[in-house]
Amino acid sequence: MARRPFPLAATAVATALGVLTLGTLGAVLAQAGGGGLTAADWAALRFTIWQAVLSALVSVGLAVPVARALARRRFAGRGALIALLGAPFLLPVIVAVLGLLAVFGRAGIVNQALAAIGLPTVSIYGLHGVVLAHVFLNLPLAVRLILHGWQAIPAERLRLAAALGFGPRAIWRHLEAPMLRAVLPGAALAIFSICLTSFAVALTLGGGPRATTIELAIYQALRFDFDLPRAATLAALQFALCSAGVAMAGWLTVAAGFGAGLDRATAPLPPAGWRKALDVAVITLATAFVAAPLLAVVARGAPGLTNLPVQVWAAAGRSLAVALASCALATSGALTLALARGRRGFELSAMLPLAASSLVLGTGLFLMLAPWVSPPRAALPVTVLVNAALSLPFAFRILAPEARAIDADYGRLTQALGLRGAARLRWVTLPRLKRPLGFALGVTAALSMGDLGVIALFATDTGATLPLLVQRLMGAYRMDTAAAAALLLVGFSFALFWGFDHWGRRHAET
């Protein structure tokens, strides 16, 4: 008989998320306007689904060999490389795009090299460019999620496999494939949902109106047509797609059921020969793919770092405060949902914010709050709340598989020992979740340093946050200073991410 660890708390979190996503949608839908979808909207819907599916499949497909290579090899700088993998995910969109263009763009290194050896140049603009950018941004997340899966295979099972004389093929069949079956659908779902709401990346690298996504149609409906119901209808389509994704991922996910281990740190004996060469090649390629655009971002921003305007530091302080508040909120909310029973419903509510149109969310919140509070005064609290809600799905995705495993592996033991509530949390749950908790805190904190899509309507009379400042600098032609401030933003995001992640990994091997 199932105990209910935090049914009330989980219901409260789910309700809050429901109000923020579906509630705001309803508030927008209730306004006057036309509301009908046009032929162009349906074309946008097709393109949106297509690019999101491709981005998710390619990201996850490439992440499997990378995660496997990282899981079974030990080399100097491995820890740093795994940490570095968090970075693309944390880049502000325009910074990531400019970094990618420095490598793959018309004037980028790849095309310069091709031209130098007399080969025709390649264009990044088009569907392939959109997918490339989404893979760059999301491959690292997929690698980390899958790597966690590999690490969650108890060492005892690997030893048993070795004792039974399993070769790589048998290990794949009996251990790795079942693990992937448990982890891959969730990872693909997360990336699919993120890419559903892509706007600036898809448009800029898509090369023109063929690459119109639903989010852009929403922007147009809200800003230029002021047709709120149409925007809400489009946002509802995004939710429907995300829900379909959650259902499909749930249907495909089969728990691996390895059982509990004794947490022994044993490096499994990695296969040698051509498999070793392959692993080296995979790790090298993945590192180059992720690092080259990042280096371009650093190279572009570094010269301006010595000459930053003073406002940058106050803005950075504000952003750090927002990030810390948001990550505490998001991670505790995600933990509550991940530990609760009756999971399918809670999982859906945890994933909803991923598919939320930030524009509709911002507009809906504005409609709900404006009669009660002065919008500029609400700006910072709203930023914290919205950032927490929007980053919660990532924390949930990171925590859920291992929270589930705790229940399966230690549920009976804790019941037999009569461990409940706070004691269970302290002695079983938190210690076992330390690694994913650190990772979740890091990801949500870093994500909350960025993102300002929601806040535009609320307006600011006082200080700006760092992402807003970067935007202001760009708007005032100061692209070099903006690049330096963006680098600072990435630096702070990465420091937050690294700090939390390091805390989580201190006693683990990932």
Partner: protein, 328 residues
């Protein structure tokens, strides 16, 4: 102890004084209030003469501004909205939320201005900007641009006001032939960005030969960076105008102060800040004239502008036409 009592008393007196100072709330786009925009200087100059507290609120860009006004309706705390442009004024007027002004000034605009609701504060011509060291002979018309193999980056008319400006530019210049012009331009367009900053950033990063911006953009590089390599290409068809305007909200609780601010917009104190912060032409040339670098800019012989109602009516069909031509 004594000092803290004194401090407490001082705070009470200070807050009483603050409570008596009238507050004028001006809603504008975010880049206006940034430290590099006109906001800080305008605020200091107006507060020095009005005995009031001028509070700017920044909300996204021009289109976000109008959406915000529509969402709030008559409930808004704002007294003045500053930052709409002529492609949005028809929609803004239709909301019925704005009140007429009583300004009767002559403007230094390339066209005659007569509008009961909106007061212009600056303006500019849209233009394609290039690097003179890379594009030696810039095109002189849309047809020449389409025939060349120059690569351009433009803004999306569905998400940005400059993008919408370009759309109306082609429409005003070519009318029914606009679709053909877009189809011819398709192979010149590297990509379409959501907003001006992304497009300009891509151009400066070398992704395109030309970018849709303003004839005044080279002045920034010349004056602020001492870089004379940027220039705008003069087009024979004429250049479309962007006129940025301010207006008083009908529901304002400080109508007199709002009128005073609208009048202040025409003063030298306001107008002299515009050229080197907003990088646009002031609506009234200040007594000191324009900053030095502005003399080097191109001056289009012909200015194009659809009147607000025509712009509003043309927008939907023109966007469809644009999308169809570029999706082929």
């Amino acid at each position: 102890m004594k000092t803290s009592i004194f401090a407490a008393g001082f705070c009470i007196v200070a807050s009483l004084a603050a409570a008596e100072t009238p507050v004028l709330n001006v809603l504008t786009y975010d880049s206006f209030i940034s430290d590099w925009g006109p906001g800080p200087a305008v605020e200091a100059a107006f507060e020095a003469e009005c005995g009031c507290d001028l509070r700017f609120e920044g909300a996204g860009d021009g289109a976000a501004l109008l959406a915000r006004v529509q969402l709030e309706g008559a409930r808004s705390e704002a007294d003045v909205v500053l930052g709409l442009d002529t492609s949005l004024t028809a929609a803004a007027a239709a909301t019925g939320l704005f009140a007429p002004h009583d300004i009767t000034a002559a403007y230094d605009l390339p066209i005659a201005w007569d509008d009961a609701l909106f007061v212009p504060y600056d303006w500019g011509w849209f233009a394609f900007v290039h690097d003179k060291t890379k594009v030696a002979v810039p095109p002189t018309s849309f047809t020449a641009l389409a025939a060349s193999d120059l690569k351009i980056v433009i803004e999306d008319p569905r998400s940005s006001t400059p993008g919408l400006g370009l759309l109306l530019w082609v429409k005003a210049a070519y009318g029914d032939r606009a679709a053909q012009i877009w189809a011819d331009l398709a192979d010149n367009i590297v990509t379409v960005t959501p907003g001006w900053s992304e497009a300009y950033g891509l151009f400066l990063a070398g992704e395109a030969d030309m970018v849709l911006s303003y004839t005044t953009s080279p002045a920034y590089h010349l004056i602020a960076e001492n870089d004379a390599t940027k220039a705008a290409a003069a087009f024979d068809e004429g250049h479309y105008l962007q006129i940025e305007v301010a207006a008083k909200l009908a529901a304002s609780d400080q109508p007199a102060l709002a009128d005073r601010f609208l009048a202040f917009i025409g003063s030298d104190a306001f107008q002299s800040v515009i050229p080197t912060t907003n990088w646009m032409y002031p609506a009234h040339t200040p007594a000191g004239g324009l900053p030095q670098g502005f003399a080097t800019l191109i001056t289009p012989v012909k200015s194009l502008l659809l009147d607000p109602e025509a712009a509003q009516a043309a927008r939907g069909p023109a966007v469809d036409e644009w999308r169809a031509a570029l999706s082929r």
